[in-house]
Every structure is written in C-alpha cells, then in structure tokens.
Assembly symmetry: C2
Homo-oligomer: 208 residues x 2
DNA sequence: CACATTTTTAGGTCAGTCCTAAATTTATGT
DNA sequence: ACATAAATTTAGGACTGACCTAAAAATGTG
C-alpha cells in the first residue's frame, strides 16, 4: 500500500485542479466560474473535480481539517498550569507572527474572493462552527463536565467568537490592502484586547 | 394602494404555500421535498413559490426580519442605567417565559426538521450571524466607538455566542421531547449561568 | 366598462450534485 | 513478465434549486 506512483499522480491531479480553480476564482470571482470550466482548465473530467473536491467551496477553502481541529488541538496540548484561554491566546499570537492562514492571513485577492461570495462566507462560518464544536468537545472531556452542563459549550462559544472576530478583523485589513507585517502589528494589540475581555470570565476555566 | 382584496389574496396564497410546505417538510424532511411538490400541494405554479419565498429555506424559517433585528432592538430600547448585557438577559428571560420561538422554542417535529437538514442549520447560522452584525452596529453607534475599534464587534460576538448557545440548548431539549414548561425551567437556570459568565467582562459595557 | 397595475403562470436555461457503468491506469502475486 | 486485482478517471445523464422572460389572469381605478 501507499505505493509511490499512484499517490504521486493523485497529488499532481489534485494540485492541477486546485491551481486552475484558484487562478480562475481570483480572476473572475467564485460564483461566475463553473466546475466545467475548472475541469477544462485542468484537463480532467468534470467528475474528477467533484471526486477530489466534493463541494465547489472546497476548491477555494481547502484547509478544513487543519482549520476545524486547530483550537481543540491547542487546548489538548496545553501545558500544566495553563488555562484554555491562556493556551489559545499564546497560540494565536504565535500565529500572528507566522502570518498563519488559519487565523485569517491571506492575500487581497483571496480576501476579496471570499467576501464577494455568499457561498464562501457561508462555508467559512461553517468552518468556524465546526472548530467551535471540536473545542467544546475537548473542553467537556477535559473538565469532566456532566452531560447537560452548558459550561464547556458556552466557553467554547466565547473563545470561538473571539477567534472569529479576530479572523474577520484580519480579513478586513487584508481587503483594505495593508501589508501582512502591518496587520500583524495591529492584530497583536487587538488580540490582547479581545482575549483580555474574556480574562475575568475564563481565567480559571479549564486550568490544567 | 393597500386595497383590501389584493392584499388579502396575497396573504392567503402565501399562507397556503407556507402551510403546505411546513406539512410536507415535517412529514418527509426538508431535503427530500421539492419545490415542485410544494407548488402542487398548494395548487400554484412553481414560480409563485419562488416569488414568495426566494430561497427554499425561507419556507421553513420565515421569521428572518424579527429574528435578525431582535438583539439590536433590545439594546436600542434599553432603559437608563441598564447595560447591554443586563438588557439582553432581561429580555431573554422574558422570552423564556413566553416560550418565544425567537430564542429557540418550537416543537419536536420542527426541531428535528432543522437538525436533520444541513441546509437549514446553515441558514440558522446565517440568521444568528445577521443578528450579531445588527447588534454590533447598534453597540458601535451607542458607544461612539472609533472606526477600527474592535470592542463593539467583540462584545456583539460574545453576546451573540451566549444567545446562540442557549438557542441550541433549547433546541436540544426540544428534540429530546421535553415539554416547553420543563425546558423553560431548565433554561432559566442555564441563562443565569451563561450570562453570568459574561458578567465580569461586560457588566460596565454600553451602560446607558 | 375600459384601462392600468399587479400577480401568477408556463416554459425554458443553467449550474451543482449525485449516480452508474465502462475504460484506463497502477499495483501485486505467481 | 504477465495476468489479475484494485484504484482512478471518464462519459453521459438525471435531478433539483435558482433564475429569466413573455404572456395571461386577476384586481384596482377613472
């Protein structure tokens, strides 16, 4: 299993489709480009596009697993004596330094493509939601909360809301044409402000 | 203008379509019922269904204006000396007593219809989002916040997250078959807990 | 009652999603 | 090395929701 050639070809096909799609989307907008055009540009059958990317949105937002699992992973991996809030803030600030796509960094063309498309903004909301659900599960397990107890879900909702707000802030600045470096500087302050808002509410929650 | 007969017929047509749709959706699920079937059941043309309800989801979730404007209205109407958080908590608790659909009360069939349909859960997320945006606008205007200041958006996100968490909690209990009276009793406690979480963060925010 | 306006209808186009069966390509066992 | 198995890609089509246009029907107004 996992033989080289077949796997290689699959990755090449996937990459060819993804590249063609991204180019067309940024050129002409997500909604006006059809799957048939993408297939033609990548020189594959329409069905092959669908096989690799079940929904059209997946062609533009291809990091769902990484994105959806991020917050839960950060909390699961936090060190002793660190609260969930502290771990998420630390990791977010590190992401700012990295200009990480997972917290909202991209290019002006990409940011415009997303905000110009109702389909893609809806899909992004969906990803934020999955991310929050995964976080809620980790928090519930970690704090051994009783079934029916809302605390973990509420905390996940608040922490998810903070991340989503900062994500949208980064996207706004990106659309305005600011450089990633300048955005990083601005958002570092924003992050301290937004996480600071939750400090008094969640400072002791899910302390390991 | 606004002559009686024409307006009456429109309302009747709208009601006939909505009733047929609701009945079919609860019987057989949102996704498997087609617009053509709804049109046939209501004895109108397919296009008439689309004219009244531009998206299929509107046939099941018909309170978008009321829903989306609710939080913003509550905050705009709050009395002197009341914070945004206090006003929203007060109004939510009143909604619990009313068994208000806007905060999540419905029937088991309705709740199941929604959670069984990805399209409808996505649409519900969208409504929560619009509601949060409207709240953010009111908060920004009311606190005279500088452009680029994230505080209003962050506060709206946290308050919206609280409402969404409680909404989902009510839907969960409804799906489990609890009576609205029992749900009201449980959710009153949940609301105090969830809004209490935000007390230390937002007690002084947007005090009028 | 004739005329203007609004609403409904019929018919069609288009794109995204899903399905099936066949053809092609790659891997594996003898 | 070759036959066989497995995985991938292809072609074609079905179905639905969304959208469009022109005509028909219903309603309100002078």
């Amino acid at each position: 299993m996992a033989t080289g050639l077949r796997e290689l070809k699959k990755q090449q096909t996937r990459q060819a489709i993804s590249s063609a799609a991204t180019r067309l989307f940024i050129e002409r907008g997500f909604e006006t480009v059809t799957i048939a055009e993408i297939a033609a540009a990548a020189q594959v059958a329409k069905m092959t596009v669908t096989n690799y990317f079940p929904r059209k949105e997946d062609l533009a937002l291809d990091y769902h697993e990484t994105f959806a699992a991020g917050l839960a992973r950060t909390v699961a991996d936090r060190s002793a004596g660190e609260s969930a809030l502290a771990a998420l803030r630390r990791e977010f600030l590190a992401g700012v330094e990295r200009h990480d796509a997972v917290i909202g960094f991209s290019s002006q063309g990409f940011a415009r493509m997303i905000s110009d498309s109702p389909t893609l903004t809806a899909r992004l909301r969906d990803l934020h939601d999955q991310r929050e659900d995964a976080l809620a599960q980790v928090l519930a397990a970690d704090t051994a909360s009783a079934p029916g107890d809302l605390t973990a879900r509420a905390a996940a909702a608040l922490l998810g809301a903070a991340h989503r707000t900062l994500f949208e802030h980064i996207m706004d600045l990106t659309r305005e044409g600011r450089s990633n470096r300048q955005i990083a500087s601005t958002v570092t302050r924003s992050a301290h402000q937004v996480f600071g808002l939750l400090e008094t509410s969640l400072a002791d929650y899910a302390m390991r």
